[in-house]
Symmetry: C2
Subunit: 127 residues, 2 copies
DNA sequence: TTGCTCCTCACGTCACGTGAGGTGGC
DNA sequence: TTGCTCCTCACGTCACGTGAGGTGGC
């Protein structure tokens, strides 16, 4: 992951360096880098574009907020709303991931039959 | 998959329409469309770029050729070479797919703990 | 103080998307 | 014969890659 990518994520508003030096240099914390890793994971594993990733990250940030402010019991209605929203989003993502995994399994099975076929051709040649 | 994509694949030499009308219109056979499906599968599931896909397709085309010309026993040495090459390529692909599947499994497990956590928060709220 | 790193434009790339305008076959 | 489909440029887009040239902090 290059400098350019980090700047591009910042430009899109999905990654803000947690600190700047007085000279204007961007400082990335460990949490920032984990966020970068999350972005790349969502890109490569699920094939999401940066708009979709922005939506996922927004939701994850909000649920993290709820968890952090769990003491204040006053707004339990709003909290319930956010829990419902999170559950819907995560469940939806789970389904797409599950579908992708099944497709990958089918792909693997196909590769295995190819390998078996090639080995059979070898045997036929030797025998 | 749009017209533009088909033309682009043709431009790169990875998909040639199997026939043309006298007027110059491209005719895609069922085998052509299967090739397109293969291209998309390699793109979306494995994240290969069109250069890498070209290499995979070249190999698959050659192994298909070998299988088709299996009668002529004369060039058994060359055939063995191609079998070895194919086995290496398919085995390598199998490993990357396996790695991807394991990553997806880990991703699924993470989603499941998130779902469980949200449900626990619901229970805590109701109880 | 001197490199060196980081900075901001800005153009290039890959895999197409999307009209713009024109010819030719059911 | 008349639309309509397919054709070829050609510019736009997304997610960066890659220098070009300049300032500022160990």
């Amino acid at each position: 992951v290059t400098e350019r990518a980090l700047r591009y994520y910042q430009e899109l508003g999905i990654l803000e360096p947690s600190a700047h030096t007085k000279g204007g240099m961007r400082r990335y914390s460990r949490a920032d880098l984990e966020r970068v890793a999350r972005i790349r994971e969502l890109q490569t594993l699920l094939g999401l574009n940066l708009d979709e990733i922005a939506a996922v990250l927004r939701n994850e940030d909000r649920t993290a907020e709820i968890r952090a402010a769990y003491q204040d019991t006053t707004q339990s209605d709003q909290r319930r709303e956010l829990l419902i929203e999170s559950l819907a989003l995560v469940t939806e993502m789970r389904q797409t991931v599950e579908a992708k995994r099944e497709a990958l399994d089918a792909f693997l099975a196909d590769l295995d039959t190819r390998i078996a076929r090639i080995n059979a051709a070898f045997d036929e040649q030797s025998g």
